[in-house]
């Protein structure tokens, strides 16, 4: 049994709690962006992921992602129910903390990833179909991808792909899934802009708490209370700040005003972009990555506006594009890496995750359609998901 460090364990457990907060924070971010009649349903979609994936992770998810390697593709079932995952460290992952702490920390990543997808099909997805889809997606998309990159023996990890805290595993996988889901569900009945965003104060609260939680997401991924964690902490803040400033400035130039919504979107874009690089780069590089991420995501949102795919809350432009840009720039700026060798590996990892997430999401949605319609009826959509799916209303007027 390895030596357990109290300091490292305390930091990873604290980080797990910080990452946990990001999922309801995402609910507030998304909830403020939708129409008033859909806010409760949107909050519920994020909150439910906390409940559903927590149980899935303990029962089978952790084992599929971090169990003993099977062909580089998936973990075995040795950790089903977290059997044998206790106070002893697993040196393959984190040699100085209990494996149960590592499993808990990773659980929170598994929770937020399908929650991110909900922004793609916001305001129109049937709750039953959403629950089934999320459970299947976590099991057959997130868990294998996490194994490919982070699992001991995973094929992308073996090739040397760098993903410090989930730029590819979390953001690219969810962003691609969101646009596939948005395409398969079809656009909302009402055009963008009618009644949305309904509460920008909620959006501000959500974005701010996401930034706060992201310190655990990135700095916690050092899996120790050490210099790497401190560097990741600094870099996370730098990229978020530069992303926000960049988006605000571009929007100011292009649209005439420094919008609050754009500034918040920019901070998220910067955070997404620095995620794969957080522990590998200098603070100056983090500033560059934050800026590049915001510029790329801004351009992607502009392109999405010309598309007929109703990715309602811009999950693809922010998370898939931001994650991809961050992953590639990690290959350029990572200390000690040789860009000419690292960038192709990064590109391979991102491409594999794009293709697998797109194909698997499509198949899972086709399967769910056999059990339940993906969309609510037109009347239910007009009524709003709060009333039609939950028989509740957020605001009493």
């Amino acid at each position: 049994m390895g030596h357990v460090s109290a300091g490292n364990t305390a930091w990873v457990l604290t980080s797990a709690a910080l990452v946990m907060l990001m999922t309801p924070a995402l609910g507030f971010f998304y909830g403020g962006l939708v129409r008033e009649k859909n806010v409760l349903a949107t909050l519920m979609q994020s909150f439910l992921m906390l409940c559903l994936v927590s149980v899935q992770w303990i029962l089978v998810g952790y084992s599929l992602a971090f169990g003993h390697d099977v062909g580089g593709l998936i973990g075995d079932l040795s950790y089903v129910g977290l059997r044998g995952v206790g106070s002893a460290p697993n040196a393959a992952y984190a040699a100085t903390i209990p494996q149960s702490a590592y499993a808990l920390f990773q659980m929170m990543f598994a929770v937020i990833t399908p929650a991110l997808i909900t922004g793609g099909f916001a305001e129109r997805k049937r709750f039953r179909a959403f629950v089934l889809f999320s459970l299947l997606w976590s099991t057959f998309v997130y868990d294998p991808i996490a194994h490919w990159v982070w699992g001991s023996g995973g094929w992308l990890g073996r090739l040397g792909a760098l993903d410090f805290a989930g730029g590819t595993v979390v953001h690219v996988s969810s962003g691609v899934a969101a646009v596939v889901a948005a395409w398969m569900l079809g656009p909302r009945l009402h055009a963008r802009g009618r009644g949305e965003p309904h509460d920008l104060t909620m959006v501000m609260l959500g974005a701010s708490l996401c930034w706060f939680g992201w310190f655990g997401f990135n700095a916690g991924s050092a899996l120790a209370a050490n210099g790497v964690a401190a560097a990741a902490f600094v870099n996370t803040d730098a990229a978020a700040a530069m992303g926000a400033l960049t988006w605000m400035t571009v929007a100011w130039h292009k649209r005439g005003t420094p919008t609050v919504t754009g500034t918040m979107a920019g901070s998220i874009a910067g955070l997404v972009a620095i995620t794969p690089a957080a522990g590998y780069v200098t603070p100056a590089a983090a500033i560059v990555i934050g800026m590049a991420g915001a510029l790329a995501c801004y351009a992607a949102v502009a392109l999405r506006e010309r598309s007929h795919v109703d990715d309602a809350l811009d999950v693809f432009p922010i998370h898939a594009i931001g994650g991809t840009v961050g992953a590639l720039l990690t290959g350029i700026f990572a200390l000690g890496a040789v860009a000419s060798r690292q960038v192709p590996v990064q590109l391979l990892a991102v491409t594999a995750v794009w293709l697998y997430s797109a194909a698997a999401t499509f198949l899972i949605l086709k399967f769910v359609m056999l059990i339940a319609p993906l969309r609510v009826t037109a009347l239910d959509e007009q009524l709003g998901l709060d009333i039609s799916q939950h028989a509740e209303a957020a605001y009493i007027s």
Partner: protein
């Protein structure tokens, strides 16, 4: 190189703020417009 790029990027933003106008409300409320 990363420091040079970071300084240049930040300087470009500051220069844009110096030149920026006060802006006029567009009256549009669409999410994409706000962003």
């Amino acid at each position: 190189m990363d420091l040079v790029l970071a300084l240049a990027g930040f300087a470009a933003l500051v220069a844009a703020w110096v030149r920026a106008g006060e802006g006029a409300p567009t009256g549009k409320t669409a999410l994409s417009e706000r962003r």
